[in-house]
Symmetry: C2
Subunit: 380 residues, 2 copies
């Protein structure tokens, strides 16, 4: 019972099938001149085209990277000589990348959203980039991108009137939420977008950075000039082909899968809430990824709970899975101003393709048993 | 008849087999806390340990990257505030990365080696890094690393005597040549080493940068803090497991494979030389990768030749396969000062696992036929 789809997702069977020919058979360097290599180049381009189409982009505005972290780092270079605004609950990749430049980090609302008032007030005349996730990776809270777009447009108007030629761009890290939320660029209206293959049943270490053609980037990795000179290195053909199948499927099944996940989540959420009336649900309950549930059992040690659940084959997380989080309290929950007892009793459940009703019901009863048993232990 | 192993190599069957479980089954994030994820972390660490052992390194001094280009870019950060020395015949990845910092590019000897005298004379008091490939990727010429190590040691002694505290490091890009040359660090005596999985029958987009613990690097990609904080992003478990199998096999079969390749090369080299006494062999014929052969047919257009050979299923290159090389003459051959007619008549043949005696003999006779036919066409 894997309830941690925000940490990693398995490669879809069709994704892996599509990748297979490119390891040992069509292994050619896409830049080589002979026919089989040219064919590989064509398949790479087609895969990239498919990825671009899925979000309503032109392939030439897309840069394939080795994952969302690299995409995010590359996106920040747009504002290398400017000021960057972001939120305190962003992923470590964003926070670490932002800290290399002039920046302001804005405290979120108690519900885990960007504080729009603070955001607007924090824009300086030299702010070049605002970077906000599509949805928070711990809480699942969907960020108010539409309203941020309005703020950005308003600020652009103001700059135009004031003769301030500094551009202002909006970057969205959609690592979490793609496949559950419509990410068509015509709807999102952002200027840069990060996508992560490894979170949507594609291969790991494959990502995308889309950017409006007018946004200048500084390559982090230079060399052979691949990816329009913005990311050199022999192309990851197998990875990109896999990513293209994954993103196509994620978008195709988005509506039905979102509905399904929301129903499964209700089963767990309602079941837990009934069993534990003191349980707190963190984040905005309305604006939330369909598969995301973040709960706190005040007074419990969630790390202990995770290990007890693990012994019964239920896999959940206390927060984001990355090296930076080892042995430290979640920076997201701290930014929300939660009491320590809520923070240490927090558990993240993220549902996905590996879950169905019966597995979710089984997991629910095990979680209830283990939380009860932990409460009994603590109360002794 | 694939004679372009320097451009790309197919994944070894055993490599691909070792990778398979990590796509859809053991897909967990290695930083997640539950047992199956911890098992994945252990397998990742074991694979990295195996890679490190193969070159005589400690795993903690190794940074996994998304390929040699990234490794090279990361290596250069060691000298961000210093001066870098390199050779004009290095790979585009090295030349492009070096150009971001204070640097001097040294002309090579006519045989395609680093000019040791020029190298020594070009060292400034602020030179922090010398970066030289193990072997040139177009000619296969093995670079005189042992002698460069001596120069570096001598310069370090001089600095110690002069009270100059500037460190001097030697980086070696061993993308070409691993599996044909002994790359044990105790023998190489370099300070940084780049390895490329995709050139030794491992998966593409996986590379390694080893660096002596005392060499400080600046991460290019920050975030979750993976790879000792020097390269963030969810680990590429499948890729690293594949790389570990590939590097182990490459090293294990190095001696027998080198001997085999040298014999196969002799067949082509002698056959061509007999058929075309005017053919020129470029590079140092003695210090050369066993599988590498670089020939020029003065007066012929090698690009035409490559396409004619392609139509007969013989795949060779005119030079390095990367986007930067499209439609421009080889910077390596230009640096060697070759006449234009030699440059445009140049062909790179790189042998490897896909070749055996019968395929090489067949390829040889086709090449002879096509070169003859091209010479006839030109002489009309």
């Amino acid at each position: 019972m894997y309830l941690d789809h925000a940490a990693a997702t398995p490669c879809d069977k069709l994704v892996l099938e599509a990748m297979q020919p490119f390891f040992s058979d069509h292994f050619f360097n896409p830049s080589s001149p002979y026919a089989p290599a040219v064919a590989v180049r064509r398949q790479y381009d087609e895969a990239k085209h498919k990825i671009a189409m899925t979000i309503g982009a032109k392939p030439n505005d897309c840069i394939v990277t080795a994952g969302a972290t690299e995409s995010i780092n590359l996106a920040m270079t747009a504002a290398a000589d400017g000021h960057i605004l972001t939120s305190a609950i962003e992923h470590h990749a964003v926070l670490a990348a932002v800290k290399r430049y002039a920046h302001t980090i804005i405290e979120p609302t108690p519900k885990g959203s960007v504080d729009l008032k603070k955001l607007e007030d924090s824009i300086k005349s030299g702010t070049k980039l605002i970077t906000i996730a599509l949805a928070n990776n711990e809480l699942g809270t969907i960020q108010p991108l539409g309203k941020i777009v309005e703020i950005v447009k308003h600020e652009r108007d103001r700059r135009r009137q004031n003769g301030n030629a500094t551009p202002l761009w909006l970057h969205c890290d959609a690592s979490q939420g793609f496949g559950q939320i419509d990410c068509n660029l015509a709807r999102l209206e952002v200027d840069l977008l990060t996508l992560n293959s490894g979170k949507i049943y594609g291969p790991k270490q494959v990502g995308l950075l889309w950017r409006r053609a007018s946004v200048p980037l500084n390559a982090l990795i230079v060399g052979g000039g691949q990816e329009l000179g913005l990311r050199s290195g022999t192309e990851n053909v197998a990875g990109v082909v896999g990513f293209s199948v994954a993103i196509d499927r994620a978008e195709r099944h988005r509506k039905t899968e979102s509905k399904r996940l929301m129903e499964l989540r209700s089963v767990i959420e309602n079941g837990l809430q009934q069993a534990f009336p003191d349980m707190q649900i963190t984040g905005d309950r309305k604006r939330r990824l369909p598969g995301a549930l973040h709960v706190s059992f005040p007074g419990l040690d969630a790390e202990r709970l995770v290990f007890r659940l693990e012994s019964r084959q239920v896999f959940v997380a206390t927060g984001s899975a990355c090296a930076a989080n080892k042995g430290s309290a979640s920076h997201v929950l701290q930014a929300l101003g939660l009491d320590d007892q809520y923070i240490s009793g927090s558990m993240r459940i993220t549902l996905g393709k590996l879950n169905d009703l019966s597995s979710v019901q089984k997991a629910l009863s095990i979680i209830i048993e283990e939380v009860n048993s932990e409460y009994q232990r603590v109360s002794k």
